[in-house]
């Protein structure tokens, strides 16, 4: 019933030389830090002809291709500070911006009422990238305070919380120890933390 597919490599890289990557990353940094127009024009000469090739293939007409190139490079100029050299190369970053703009352009063209926009799908220009959600305890809440309230937790939740917060085990270790799925450990943790929080709120 399922698609539990083993992931595999099917594409080989047509690699961009390392020096070019470094050079472009340097220009992006100069734009981000100093609004350096000379650096931007270097980026423009390198990427505009490439983006134009991509855009012509994707959009099929000159006017829209130009709009796509312009929007993409305007974003590069205005949001260069969002480029993170540790996360990828300049060409990947710029390509993903173009891909997103293309997606939004085609969406508008179809005049659909779709509420989904490209930043929901691909958070390229987002300040913070996603981290799988964990609810964290407020800083002022100490283990001792929590400890007092332990007794009122359901036993299953208490065991999990004790193992993680007192014995310092990972959620996976707890799952293995108790022979329950990791998802259950996670939700028990979450439920227990929530409950504790509620109790503390009532104490105030």
């Amino acid at each position: 019933m399922l698609v539990g597919i083993q992931l595999e490599d099917r594409q080989t890289r047509t690699s961009v030389p390392f020096e070019v990557v470094e050079e472009m990353a340097g220009y992006l940094q100069a734009v981000a830090l100093r609004r350096c127009q000379r650096s931007f024009s270097k980026l423009f000469s390198h990427f505009a002809p490439r983006l134009r090739s991509y855009a012509l293939k994707q959009m099929g007409n000159e006017a829209q291709a130009m709009e796509l190139v312009q929007e993409t490079l305007a974003n590069v100029w205005q949001k260069a500070h969002l480029f993170d050299v540790d996360k990828g190369t300049p060409s990947t970053w710029i390509f993903t911006i173009a891909r997103n703009i293309r997606f939004d352009m085609l969406r508008k063209q179809r005049n659909r009422k779709e509420d989904i926009c490209s930043e929901d799908l691909w958070p390229v220009l987002c300040e913070q990238t996603a981290s799988p959600g964990e609810i964290s305890l407020d800083h002022q809440m100490t283990l001792q305070q929590v400890g007092v309230l332990f007794e009122s937790l359901p036993e299953k939740q208490r065991l999990v919380i004790e193992a993680i917060y007192i014995e310092g085990k990972s959620q996976q270790e707890v799952a293995d120890d108790l022979e329950i799925p990791l998802g259950t450990v996670k939700s028990r943790t979450r439920l227990a933390l929530q409950r504790l929080k509620e109790m503390l709120d009532q104490d105030d």
Binding site: M1, L2, V3, G4, I5, L7, D9, R10, Q11, R13, T14, Q37, F40, S41, F44, A48, R50, R52, S53, L56, M66, V69, L73, A74, W77, K79, A80, H81, L82, K87, G88, S91, T92, I94, F95, T96, N100, R102, R107, R112, K113, E114, D115, I116, S118, E119, D120, L121, L125, E127, Q128, A130, P132, G133, I135, L182, G183, K186, R188, L191
Partner: protein, 219 residues
């Protein structure tokens, strides 16, 4: 432990931006939860970028003008703000994957369905229908099959459907080949996000009586 991931073809469509909006959204939510697929997608983006930006078409003079205009634009400090929206149901709060956070605020309340099920429709404006579905402990969806396809992402908890077990983060594709009856015995119940493009088709017992009304039930 996540065992079920989007297919290579689904990731490929996502990376290219050729996916439809619904599929893209649910794949994106899975990526928020799955490190393995996220690093795979990063690799795919790298090689696709190299491939797509390998060729060049020379610029005409209009582009010089474009470049001049762009540098007149002000810097835009501050990207899209990160949302910290949670989903509330029955006194519980669920932290959602980033991709779905914006939609949690657009829910017009939960409706209580048969079989200890809660359902909250999300209007994405796409073909088909998107819902958050919460199964309480012991809850189940009547046995059904699919006329179209159903994409499901397990957001919290776990469930089984008579065919196998699913855990938080699992990405599940069902279509007409699959007849199943999702249910959960987990104390904490199970929250999923699902997108179907056609109404479900109920296959057993009294639930068959639901078929004429399945558009009211799961579209």
């Amino acid at each position: 432990m996540i065992k079920l991931h989007p297919s290579y073809a689904q990731l490929e469509r996502y990376v290219e931006g050729s996916c439809n909006a619904g599929e893209g959204l649910i794949v994106s939510a899975h990526l928020d939860m799955c490190l393995q697929c996220r690093s795979k997608v990063t690799e795919m983006e790298n090689s696709l970028a190299d491939k797509m930006l390998a060729n060049q078409v020379p610029l005409d003079p209009a582009y010089a003008e474009m470049c001049r205009k762009i540098v007149e634009l002000p810097a835009e400090i501050g990207g899209t703000p990160a949302l910290h929206q949670t989903l509330e149901l029955d006194g519980r709060q669920f932290t959602l994957p980033r991709a779905l956070r914006r939609y949690a605020s657009q829910i017009n309340g939960w409706s209580h369905m048969v079989g200890k099920l809660w359902q909250a429709r999300v209007d994405l404006g796409i073909d088909g229908r998107a819902d958050f579905i919460y199964m309480e402990k012991g809850g189940s969806v009547p046995e059904h099959t699919h006329r179209g396809s159903e994409l499901t992402l397990v957001l919290d908890g776990e469930f089984s459907d008579g065919l196998r077990d699913y855990d938080t983060g699992d990405f599940i594709l069902c279509d007409g080949r699959h007849t199943h009856m999702p249910h959960t015995d987990a104390d904490e119940g199970c929250l999923v996000f699902s997108i179907v493009d056609q109404p479900l088709h109920f296959t057993s017992g009294l639930a068959r009586l639901l078929n004429p009304f399945s558009h009211l039930f799961f579209k």
